[in-house]
């Protein structure tokens, strides 16, 4: 029996007016997989993620989450835990009030959610900020609040847009463990990052996007074969696939000559 994909994206096109941010993108993520979306700034990663969670209306293409079309909005979103790239929450609320709002909208049972919340708050070290307005928190602590909120309902699919930015070493390590554990339990994770070492260590597969197109996809080993490099790191592969390697060398040479 074929296992149902967690996420299926076919021919996704996202455009802002005449500017096409995501161009005919297709990929699949299976349960138990950690799928890394990599790409230079402005490549279309965040647009792809926003389309996946139904925040952006794609121009065309098909997205399915656990076999459900995105039009089945409430059912799809119930399966997803999302951490946005730019953590803009309700700043005047405290984390406790924010979690109460999230738990209410997600119709979570008080006993169950309080048990999870206690564990997550201790793990991510946010308990001490529970009654401090979100506006007064540092970026890293806001990020922790967003991560906690995304995990409250134990989603089957985690979508994390640059989740490690601003996190301290301890929380970063815990989040990585959480991601790995989530995948081991059969959940799926899609996350975008600029940190190649993290992607290399965590991801089962990566998809490299450049100028809105998928220019490389597979395991790190598979990508090495693709670029005919036996030893290159994911960073080298990334630069090669996104055709930035040559430019990089020229820029570095120019900088050195300018010294």
């Amino acid at each position: 029996m074929v296992q149902q994909a967690a996420v299926t994206v076919e021919g996704l096109v996202v455009a802002y007016g005449s500017f096409v941010a995501v161009d005919n993108l297709s990929f699949t993520v299976h349960p138990g997989e950690v799928y890394g979306l990599l790409g230079p700034n402005g490549a279309g990663k965040t647009s792809t993620i926003k389309a996946l969670i139904g925040v952006l209306q794609p121009r065309s293409g098909k997205i399915q989450v656990y076999g459900m079309p995105l039009s089945d909005e409430v059912a799809v979103k119930s399966q997803i835990g999302y951490v946005p790239e730019e953590v803009v929450l309700f700043d005047s609320l405290t984390p406790r009030e924010f979690f109460e709002f999230i738990a209410s909208v997600r119709r979570l049972e008080a006993d169950v959610v309080n048990f999870r919340l206690e564990r997550l708050a201790c793990a991510l070290d946010v308990k001490q900020y529970f009654d401090t307005p979100i506006a007064a928190l540092s970026r890293g602590n806001k990020q922790k609040v967003a991560i906690t909120a995304a995990l409250l309902h134990e989603p089957k699919l985690l979508i994390l847009d640059e989740p490690l930015i601003g996190l301290d070493a301890r929380s970063s390590k815990i989040l990585k463990e959480l991601i790995t554990f989530h995948a081991k339990k059969g959940g799926a994770v899609i996350f975008s990052t600029h940190i190649m070492e993290v992607a290399e260590k965590l991801c089962t597969r990566v998809g490299i996007i450049n100028k809105g197109r998928l220019v490389g996809e597979g395991t790190v080993e598979g990508l090495r074969k693709l670029v005919k490099s036996a030893e290159g790191s994911l960073e080298d592969i990334f630069l090669k696939v996104t055709e930035q390697e040559k430019d990089m060398q020229e820029i570095i040479r120019a900088l050195e000559e300018g010294q």
Binding site: V55, F101, A103, D131, A136
Partner: protein, 543 residues
């Protein structure tokens, strides 16, 4: 750095503060940040700030021409000596000026206090002294037009109309002192608000009560401005009459702004001098001017603290957390609770919540002018519903700041619409209770008020659903960022006009029925209101 250069740099900082007041609401929104779009927003922000300054100036000018200047040319009240009319006029004008500038200031002070312009300026090769000057000049730019017009134009016009240079000079001093008081009030409240409310969380009932008290203090200037706008002439007359009655007490000359009223009056008409009152007014005016000098020092040091980041304008408070327990509710209740919590920390939202009840309390004054007939009741209901219907777009715009996040939640459009409709209806019902209690207390046709008010609640709920449906559909399609609704006046107006029409419809029908077949007035009124409600309910449930 030269002052001219600082002035030029402050223009950039000022543009940024105006821009942030709009753009911050877009953060987290779903629209792409396209260059053309940003450019349009930047222009729109500048125009908005300019419009706000012009509107305040127009109000000041209107009160200046209707209250302040007529007294200078001898227009007055029967049986009230002209010098007392001047005292009343000047006193009322100064009170208006204080409230209007403080009201306008409170709208922008928050964006200045919370703005990040210092973070942008700090890494540049500018001294702390220069940066604090830039922030100070930026602050002045926020208020420049109304402050300058009030300070320069009116004293000159007053001197010409009264023919008294000394009177003009005294009015210049009194207006200057009032402006400084208004600025100090604005910045003091802004700082207090941020340090005690926004930066301080807390879940105890005591904290919630404290927040409520601070909010009332914060929005008092708004209500003061609203009150004087509605009853300016009556206030001026009351002040003049009061002055005449209380002048025997003489010590009224010690109280601001009466002291300046006496000063201007005696400076304009030296022949009418009461030397004892004059001495008192000179002493107290000197005292208030000294206080104004201290206030100016406070304002400049406050701005400098924003400019240098020293001294902590915002002092976050950390709560001792005992547990992590939360109490989830049904989604609609969760939304309402969240909206009320957010409103309790935002004066602009809070004032909109309180405005319908306040409007009603003010409308109740008209009860004293005679019998309360059907047209008065319907007129009142219409007025109350208009103010209430400003609330739905605000309630939806609350989501705007983190609309991208809200959109990622499994939230049905209809849940959002119905929750916010429920809140709007409750706010309207509270103002109805105020009206009903006043009517019972004054023994004025309270049965009709109760009957028509209760029925009209259906129409208000329907209108609220209509406004919210239009706005939520636009939001769901990604047509615009929710928090940005006030930056797009056309969008805002197009949303509230259908709502206004909906609440007006049963009222018009009832008035027509009153002339044609008055037995059916309540029947027709009820039928239309309930039909509107049923239609909108069906439409929302289909969403």
């Amino acid at each position: 750095m030269k002052i001219a250069d600082l002035w030029r740099l402050s223009r950039t900082a000022y543009k940024e503060v105006s821009f942030q007041s709009i753009f911050s609401l877009r953060t987290g929104a779903i629209l792409p940040q396209k260059e053309a779009d940003i450019g349009r927003l930047a222009r729109s922000a500048e125009v908005n700030t300019l419009i706000s300054k012009i509107i305040t100036t127009i109000f000041i000018a209107a009160f200046g021409f209707t209250i302040f200047l007529p007294t200078a040319i001898g227009m007055g009240l029967p049986k009230v000596p002209k010098e007392m009319v001047i005292v009343g006029g000047v006193t009322a004008f100064l009170a208006v000026l204080l409230f209007l500038i403080a009201f306008m200031g409170l709208q922008v002070a928050t964006s200045l206090v919370s703005s990040k312009i210092v973070e942008v300026l700090s890494p540049l090769p500018l001294s702390k002294h220069d940066i604090s000057w830039i922030v100070f000049l930026c602050f002045i730019k926020i208020f420049d037009i109304p402050l300058l017009i009030a300070l320069l134009v009116f004293p000159v016009l007053y001197a010409f109309s009264s023919g008294s240079f000394l009177g003009g000079l005294a009015s210049f001093l009194s207006i200057g002192v009032t402006e400084i008081f208004a600025l100090a009030l604005t910045m003091g409240l802004a700082g207090f608000f941020y340090s005690r409310i926004l930066s301080g969380g807390g879940r105890s009932k005591w904290k919630a009560l404290l927040r409520f008290i601070f909010l009332i203090v914060w929005i008092l200037p708004s209500f003061g401005a609203y009150l004087v706008m509605n009853f300016a002439v009556q206030i001026a007359q009351t002040f003049a009459s009061m002055t005449q009655i209380l002048s025997s007490l003489q010590f009224i000359a010690l109280i601001y702004p009466f002291s300046f009223g006496f000063l201007v009056s005696y400076a304009s008409f030296p022949s009418e001098i009461n030397y004892f009152i004059l001495t008192l007014s000179i002493i107290s005016s000197f005292g208030y001017s000294t206080l104004a000098a201290y206030c100016l020092k406070f304002v400049t040091s406050f701005i400098r603290r924003i400019g240098t980041g020293v001294g902590g304008v915002i002092t976050p408070m950390r709560e001792i957390v005992k547990d992590t327990i939360i109490r989830p509710q049904a989604p609609w209740f969760g939304i309402i609770r969240k909206d009320l919590r957010m409103a309790s920390r935002s004066p602009s939202y809070a004032s909109l919540f309180l405005l319908p009840a306040l409007q009603t309390a003010i409308l109740v004054f008209s009860f004293s002018f005679g019998e309360v007939g059907l047209s008065t009741i319907l007129g009142m209901l219409f007025g109350m519903s208009l103010v209430t219907l400003l609330l739905p777009p605000t309630l939806l715009s609350i989501e705007g700041v983190s609309s991208a996040y809200t959109r990622s939640l499994p939230l049905k459009k209809r849940t959002l619409i119905l929750a916010k409709t429920m809140l709007t209806t409750v706010i309207y019902a509270i103002s109805l209770v105020v009206l009903f209690v006043a009517a019972v207390f004054l023994k004025k046709n309270f049965v009709s008020i109760l009957a028509f008010g209760a029925v009209h609640t259906f129409s208000v709920a329907a209108a609220s659903m209509l406004e919210l449906t239009i706005l939520a559909n636009k939001f769901w399609k990604g047509d615009f960022a929710l928090g940005n609704v006030y930056a797009r006046l056309s969008t805002f107006i197009l949303i509230i006009i259908p709502g206004f029409a909906m609440v007006l419809f049963p009222i018009l029908a009832a008035l027509i029925a009153y002339f044609l077949a008055d037995y059916f007035v309540l029947t027709i009124f009820s039928t239309i209101a309930i039909l509107e409600f049923a239609t909108m309910m069906l439409a929302v449930l289909r969403e």
